[in-house]
Symmetry: C3
Subunit: 361 residues, 3 copies
């Protein structure tokens, strides 16, 4: 049982390829800091976004405020303090700040210098998510917020989910940018077949992200849908800075795609639809929050379909978690090793390039 | 719900302030290595002080010995070994050392070189504490040991406590040097009111530390004392290298301070007294032992008062622990961020300056 | 109780000695990757050897294959994938590799470049162990595999054991290279007496390791043998790159050694024999696998002796574990501190020198 002679592949010299190292964080973009309903009226929550501690605070009138979760006095987190009359009281030595970040009182101190203040962040609450702008506040244009309107559309029934991956954020984005993994990571949960890997998606570069579209023909129905007939699936999603996925999946009777020559068939042919909004928010270099919504059109939203879809989705993302953690471990053992992208990686390559260029700028 | 326009405070440029980085350790000083009763006759204990492994060993005659807890042979800890006839036997390969650190036997070796020996530390046992001098042994003057005499005064009843904080030692010292935090961290446990932060302490620099004194007028009684009348409190403590707090709190009927013009009133006006001796002993850059004694004059020391005082004190220090750990986390996320000391910080600023100067020397 | 005056040993200047720092890994050698029976037919196992992720895969015909446990596509571990028709299918995006490392299929990709392949390692299965060559495959000579023939000798009854130490591999090798520690670490488990430290072994340098031999005279019988008479023990072992111990212990009636003038007595005087094969396989700088076999000649192998020997051996190695972990902690606290080898350390010094020279070459 000796195989010492079978060494046909000494370690190949890798002069090309994609670095497996950690990527920097996007700046000048809207991060999903949390679900709206995670911050109740007159409460606050501390979160860390791209290594910045951020305090989310909801005023009595419902408006949300984001400021550094770090008192400028001794760097204690303000989120351990209290809300007093709409102001934030540090729980260590009592400095009191307005929602503008200005210090309005320091116990025992007559005059506090103007430089003693807290950095605030542009913040917008939209579509069930709290969006915080990390970067140059002058550039914080709400028009740049990805459209997660399906999250709170009256036509949709939504279930929220969340998990934390102990990996660099870029690995989670890589995962979401190449759905060929469905065939190998999610055959059990999503019932995904080989076509997810055997076919090629159409990838289009967007100003702040990429669009990925594909037809999957003559598939078994999704496990959370009635198992009546085989279907054609038109799957399309945008993946937008800093890591927001907006997906719609349209299911038609098998054969419909060919009948319409791969164009989007008229609405009356639609059997059912599913959607997903997901956000990948880095905490630090080895911690990434993953917020996801599974979305069912109200017309199809029996309690069973809604529950099944969410259960299947959550199970699938636990499958991703196992793979991502294992992949990160191998990467950390292999500092010099590069990834070798294939044609399926067109979206991951584009998105990584956008991030590298934004960081270099 | 859009606040993107309210950015009144972009991150202020911080050109002044106090570094939030870890501080070095004091050298040339007496560290509290342990409680006396932690080392029984003819036993030994391994402790780490400022990253130095130290073996505490009590001889049969009761005398304490401190030496490196590191055999010079293979660097195994001697504390895993045994005591044989008043000598220390390494538990790995059997090197045997006298309490002077000299090797008196190495199994199978006829002649051991004189350089094969263990470093010993000057050590003094006093006031229930084992004090170890880390630094130049030529300078180890027992007169420099802080006076923790209340720890074993026959007039006092003492309860010992201990906890470990996973933070840099300087944060624990900062905490103890500015009691304005009592108003915000300890309103529940100590029942401390806003006056702790609204008033200013008198801070005096000492040759090896600082003295902090203040009157608090017309206060509710401490929660562990009879709730009979409002009181004036004269709170005074020395905070001495490398982190030893010696505190006395004197309680008088409300109005006494004014009657005596803020001077120490004659003894007959004293209602009650409390005291505390505490030691902050760094283990490493992120681990700090905190030893504390709650002290009640024997005359007032009903079992209930003694127990209540200790329970309240322990609860309060758990409140500090939560704040300190959260503060350390924020500091570690904010490498460039500086602290902005206020007037209350005079004692923290002086003590940090003394440490920086000692380290530079 | 003042000992401040007894400082007879200020920290000695250490100009000579052995560095306590981590050692590099051996290259160009056969590492024990696992027990043969850990990899069943048509299964695979991921292991890490000297920071290299290695996939062990047994083909249907029983032959073992070793290749990098890292898909060259996105660096996911192949061990999370599947075996398909004797090939390895990556579980992330479906790349399929032959046991030669060549990619035979990438779903959806017509032509895969030849450089897209997995590094394979020379691997030999011998004597119950799977040996993997880490280093230059051109030099992978099976003749360099240490002779662990006792592991599967028909004359022997073998029990397998395994543990993981959270220390640098060199500390485990040091431990095994100096059995004087038996007298102090293993008096309870092995019943080892002072003679293990009081006598000196004969150490011979080998081309790839060291040989250690010694007589122990008039000893109590090993605790797992019949307690009938005192014995002379002839203990001999080779310790071979990268950390493989091959040991035989021969027990004679007390007095036999002198009768034969320290030479190996004729076979008929042998009372009983024991043997051990052990492998120290580094995972990373602070993790080391330790695989061991306790071996009893079939003639003596009552179930009780076999079980007792293995239980005693395992208990003894748990004693080592406590010491090794404590030693590593002290070393990590003492970056500048050096070890001071004694005459007993001749084998540790030779083996460390061989490793340093191999690394420098």
């Amino acid at each position: 049982m000796m195989n010492a002679g079978t060494v046909s592949n000494p370690a190949p010299a890798r002069t090309r390829g994609v670095s497996a190292q950690d990527m920097p964080y996007f700046r000048d973009c809207w991060y999903v800091a949390d679900w709206s309903d995670s911050v109740a009226a007159d409460t606050m929550v501390g979160r860390t976004i791209a290594e910045e501690p951020v305090l989310l605070y909801r005023k009595g009138d419902g408006a949300i405020v984001a400021m550094a979760d770090r008192c400028c006095h001794r760097l204690a987190p303000l989120s351990l303090g209290a809300i007093e009359d709409g102001h934030i009281r540090c729980g260590y030595h009592g400095a009191k700040f307005a929602t503008t970040g200005a210090c309005v009182e320091f116990p025992g101190i007559a005059k506090v210098p103007a430089s003693f203040c807290i950095k605030t962040y542009p913040v917008v609450e939209r579509h069930r998510w709290i969006w915080v702008w990390v970067g140059d506040p002058q550039k914080a244009d709400p028009a740049l917020i990805p459209d997660a309107g399906m999250n709170d559309s009256p036509d949709m029934v939504v279930r929220q989910g969340e998990m934390t991956h102990e990996v660099n954020h870029i690995l989670v984005s890589d995962n979401l940018l190449d759905f060929s993994h469905l065939a190998y990571v999610h055959p059990k949960s999503f019932g995904a077949g080989a076509d997810w890997a055997d076919t090629r998606a159409t990838v289009t570069e967007l100003p702040r992200g990429v669009r990925v579209e594909r037809w999957l023909l003559d598939q078994p129905p999704w496990p959370f849908l009635p198992q009546t007939m085989r279907i054609d699936i038109f799957n399309t999603y945008d993946y937008l800075w800093p890591g927001v996925l907006i997906l719609a999946g349209r299911n038609y009777p098998a054969g419909t795609a060919d009948r319409f020559d791969g164009k989007l068939p008229p609405q009356e042919h639609l059997l059912s639809m599913g959607a997903a909004c997901q956000a990948v928010t880095p905490v630090d270099a080895r911690t990434t929050r993953y917020l996801f919504a599974s979305i069912t059109p109200r017309a199809d939203a029996t309690e069973e379909v809604v529950q099944r879809r969410h259960a299947v989705t959550t199970a699938a993302f636990e499958e991703d978690k196992v793979m991502l953690h294992a992949q990160q471990r191998i990467i950390d053992l292999s500092p010099g090793e590069k990834m070798m992208p294939m044609a399926h990686d067109r979206a991951t390559v584009l998105f990584r390039r956008q991030l590298a260029e934004q960081s270099a700028a």
